[in-house]
């Protein structure tokens, strides 16, 4: 298996000497190509900080993050932007679509800023839209479509550049359960048929149950790791709930 992401001994400290907060305290893990990894944890556990470090929005205090063969903690300036633009795809809780652009243009923007030929853009956008079943809304503006559709447009924008890694931060956070299910099916489709590698942060057990592997983080450390293996999604979901009970956080999510 090709290793896409290698996180080794990273630490992230906030504050000063007298009042030091260890947001990430020595975390190491690997993600292989084609994996769908979930990261769970209560608020304040450090999961978003971890994602920010991987996406280079934030810098680690120590340790290394290797994507492909490159240590991204050593990247600077334009190379950093290039890395973010070309190797990563982002999905955010609040969609982050530009309201002035149509859905088509929102997806195309990810390509235009990579200076992709305008002829290729059209075929690529249409292709991905078909896969995610959003062909009908391409000419609409974000305010004209539902939340689920918006998030699928965002997903299309993230995947269209063929990134090595897709980072999703609470992608279902702003969706109702039906839209959330639809979106997660799309994730699964991309993961299985296009062999996309996904790293998803969530605190929702249902959302997490779509992943193949889940890392639980508590107080900046990896607390547990469970694999879906051959179990069904329902069984995996129950496993997740068990770990969450053990973790003692987020009781509200245990229904």
């Amino acid at each position: 298996m090709e290793k896409i992401l290698e996180v080794s001994n990273i630490e992230k400290y906030y504050g000063n000497k007298s009042n030091l907060t260890k947001a990430i305290n020595n975390i190491s893990f690997n993600v292989n190509k084609g994996e769908f990894v979930g990261i769970m944890g209560a608020s304040g556990s450090g999961k978003t900080t971890l994602l920010n470090c991987i996406s280079t929005i934030d810098r680690v205090t120590s340790g290394h993050i290797i994507v492909g063969n490159e240590d991204i903690t050593k990247l600077k300036g334009n190379k950093l932007n290039k890395y973010r633009r070309e190797e990563l795809g982002f999905i955010f809780q609040d969609f982050n679509l530009l309201d002035t652009l149509t859905c088509y243009e929102n997806i195309a923007l990810a390509l235009t800023i990579q200076k992709v030929n305008s002829k290729d853009i059209e075929t690529r956008v249409k292709d991905i839209a078909k896969k995610l079943e959003i062909q009908d809304i391409l000419d609409k503006y974000p305010y004209q479509v539902s939340g689920g559709q918006k998030q699928r447009v965002a997903l299309a924008r993230a995947i269209i550049t063929n990134p090595k890694l897709i980072l999703a931060d609470e992608p279902t956070g702003a969706l109702d359960s039906k839209s959330a299910r639809q979106l997660l099916e799309s994730f699964k489709y991309l993961n299985e048929s296009m062999n996309a590698t996904v790293l998803m942060v969530t605190h929702d057990a249902f959302t997490a149950s779509y992943a193949n592997r889940i890392l639980f983080i508590k107080d900046g450390k990896i607390f547990n790791e469970i694999l879906k293996g051959d179990s069904s999604r329902k069984e995996f979901f129950e496993k997740i709930i068990d770990v969450q009970t053990l973790l003692g956080g987020d009781l509200n999510n245990v229904i």
């Binding site: 633009r85 002035t100 652009l101 195309a108 923007l109 235009t112 305008s118 503006y141």
Partner: protein
């Protein structure tokens, strides 16, 4: 405590204050500069009669200053409103902490006061230094001696500036307090959360409206240039102006929709880098800024036209002036006074002495009235004839009806002036202008006033145009008017003189006027000014004037010195007021555009954050921002420049004979420097401030 808070606020948001501060400082500086004109050194150096004109100018500037103060006042209120809106959330937090509206008002009051005092101080310092430079400009305009340079400070202007701006700040304070008292806490805290629906225009409608708007503009342009002769009354100027305004608004309303429809078709431009984002951004914003863009465009148009045509006008007048005043003195006297005549509905009966005198040349009158003829040299005297049998109407002959229909306002009963060729050549030789030769049966028309020349040429072009003068038929030697004049003037305003052969049977009764030209017999300027006093009727009149007055003899005259001073003064007033207003308009429109952009930048911060998140680097984002602001500043300027090309042409044709197109270049360069300086400063300030806003 509140003072500390205000001070800290200002330090913290110094960048937000930049545009506001810039506007205030520029306003104060300009205000001081133009109000301190009277004590500027150049003004102290100019001669006595020019001083009169400066007084007139100061009166007018004072009047204009009130208008300027109102414009600046409104601008300051607007700019301040922008600041308050930017800080809604901050006020909301104060209120949740239990601070009353009154206390918040006090904080803002203190801030306004601090900014006001600072900008007043900085503006005055800049104004005082800039006015030294303006002195040099003034000196050039008034041709004053600037060899000794002093640093000048005008206390009156300083106090006036302080008072005017204090009143403006007071208005701002009252306005602020009113705004604050209307705020509700919930709105303040949620001020940044805004859900905007994107309203897109129908692309076909946009294209149609754009074409319609351009057509209206095109028609208005055609009307004021190619079809300009149809505009002969002030009311007829109104339709092109209204069409211009409507065309401008329609153009801006549809411009972005039109361009986006066009560029969307060109996929390799549209889908390139951040082009798509920039275009959509503009399209989105222009909807809300149609009116302000149009106002800015029209203001810029006015600035450009006023600045360049007034400077050009002045240059042309100056050049004409030197050309048109070849001698020191022109005197003229009515010949052949009748026993009685009507003047302004009153019967006038000249005395016998007056009638007798009117039969003699001016030279005799001067000698009879105790003038030592040695003060004059190069004396030439000629006679000018006129008859009611030969008026403009008779001259236009077969074309009269056509011309009258086109220009109903002209006085066609005016009698033509007739001069014998040898007389004219004597005068022309003295003036150093073209002399002419005539055959027995020929005449020449001299005319250098452009619009009149054009009318006369319409008749003369027919060739050998016959004219009956003193019952004898003559034909025109040339198929057009020739240049020339017999009296000095401020510019080319000779509407027509007919030159006839010496043997033309002009009768004694037809003699209308004596005209005498001469130079002062002095070598220095001082000497000439001494002689000038003999001929000018003022408080301490010379013996000549007293004697003439005693005898009731009227001799009119023009002197080179008086023409120079009057004309330089008047054009200078016009130029000064034009520059003053032009710059104020420019500041106002630049500031409004800046603030509008900054408001948009802070509203659209989220969009730039998204760009950053999907991997745009800072360079791309800054480029997108630069282009976006550039287009917003550029579009009104571009349309204003197009407007101005036609506007200036129109202004030139209205002032036909006064200004020439080729005189425009230097004044256009000056205009470009002024506009580039002020508009450019605002553009850059807006760009850098926006960059900061989207980085937050």
């Amino acid at each position: 405590m509140l003072f500390k808070l205000s001070l800290k606020n200002m330090k913290k948001s110094i960048k937000d204050f930049a545009i506001y501060f810039l506007t205030l400082v520029l306003g104060v500086a300009i205000f001081y500069m133009f109000n301190s004109l009277d004590s500027q050194q150049a003004m102290l150096e100019v001669s006595q009669s020019t001083r009169q004109i400066i007084k007139l100018m100061l009166g007018m500037l004072g009047f204009v200053s009130v208008f300027v103060a109102i414009v600046l006042g409104l601008l300051i209120v607007y700019a301040n409103n922008f600041l308050i809106n930017r800080r809604k959330k901050e006020f909301g937090i104060y209120m949740t902490l239990g601070m009353g509206k009154r206390q918040i008002s006090k904080v803002i009051l203190l801030e306004t006061l601090l900014v006001g005092i600072m900008s007043l101080a900085v503006g005055l310092v800049i104004g005082i230094f800039a006015s030294q430079f303006m002195s040099i400009l003034v000196a050039k305009l008034f041709e004053a001696d600037m060899s000794k340079f002093h640093f000048v400070f005008s206390k009156e202007a300083c106090i006036k500036t302080c008072i005017y701006f204090a009143v403006m700040y007071l208005a701002v304070m009252i306005f602020n307090t009113m705004t604050i008292s209307r705020y509700k806490l919930i709105n303040l805290l949620n001020a940044t959360k805004k859900n905007e629906k994107v309203k897109m225009k129908n692309p076909f409608l946009a294209v149609f409206v754009f074409l319609f708007g351009s057509t209206i503009l095109g028609y208005a342009y055609w009307k004021v240039t190619a079809d300009v002769h149809s505009i002969n009354t002030a009311e007829k100027m109104l339709p092109p102006i209204i069409m211009g305004i409507i065309g401008t608004i329609l153009t801006f309303w549809s411009l972005s929709g039109f361009i986006i429809t066009l560029i969307q078709k060109m996929k390799n431009i549209y889908f390139k880098g951040t082009n798509m984002f920039v275009l959509r951004q503009i399209n989105n914003k222009i909807n809300t800024t149609v009116v302000s863009m149009s106002v800015i465009c029209i203001m810029l148009f006015m600035t450009i036209s006023i600045l360049s045509s007034s400077l050009a006008l002045r240059n042309t007048m100056q050049r004409d002036l030197i050309e048109m005043t070849p001698v020191d003195l022109n005197l003229y006297k009515t010949a052949n006074l009748p026993e009685s005549y009507m003047s302004y509905g009153k019967e006038i009966r000249p005395t016998e002495q007056q009638i007798e005198d009117s039969r003699h040349p001016i030279k005799d009158t001067l000698i009879n009235n105790n003038l030592d003829m040695n003060v004059l040299k190069d004396v030439v005297e000629i006679e000018v004839y006129a008859t009611n049998d030969l008026t403009w109407e008779t001259f236009f002959g077969n074309k009269f009806d056509e011309i009258k229909k086109e220009f109903p306002g002209l006085d066609y009963g005016t009698a033509e002036e007739i001069v014998k060729i040898s007389d004219y050549n004597k005068m022309a030789k003295l003036y150093g202008i073209n002399e002419y030769q005539l055959n027995e049966d020929e005449y020449i028309i001299l005319c250098d006033f452009d619009s009149q020349k054009e009318l006369r040429n319409r008749v003369l072009i027919q060739g050998d145009y016959p004219l009956t003068i003193a019952e004898k038929v003559y034909k025109s030697k040339y198929n057009e008017c020739k240049d020339g004049y017999i009296t000095m003037s401020t510019s080319h305003t000779n509407t027509g003189i007919i030159l006839v052969p010496d043997n033309c049977p002009l009768t004694e009764e037809m003699k209308e006027m004596y005209l005498l030209s001469a130079n002062y017999n002095a070598t220095t300027d001082e000497g000439k000014e001494e002689i000038e006093k003999i001929f000018v009727d003022n408080a301490d009149s010379s013996n000549l004037i007293k004697s003439l007055n005693d005898n009731g003899i009227v001799i009119d005259g023009l002197t080179k010195i008086s023409i120079m001073e009057a004309s330089v003064g008047l054009t200078t007033i016009a130029v000064f007021i034009a520059i003053y207003l032009g710059i104020v308009f420019l500041i106002a429109s630049s500031a409004i555009l800046s603030l509008k952009q900054l408001t948009d930048s802070s509203d659209n911060k989220q969009r730039y954050t998204i760009l950053r998140k999907i991997g745009c680097d800072e360079k791309m984002i800054n480029k997108a921002l630069f282009r976006q602001i550039g287009i917003f500043f550029g579009a009104p300027l571009l349309l204003a420049i197009i407007h101005s090309v036609f506007g200036i042409k129109f202004a030139l044709s209205l002032l036909s004979g006064l200004a020439k197109a080729d005189e425009l270049l230097p004044s256009i360069i000056v205009t470009v420097i002024i506009i580039g300086g002020i508009y450019g400063t605002y553009f850059l300030a807006t760009y850098f401030e926006s960059k900061n806003i989207i980085k937050e």
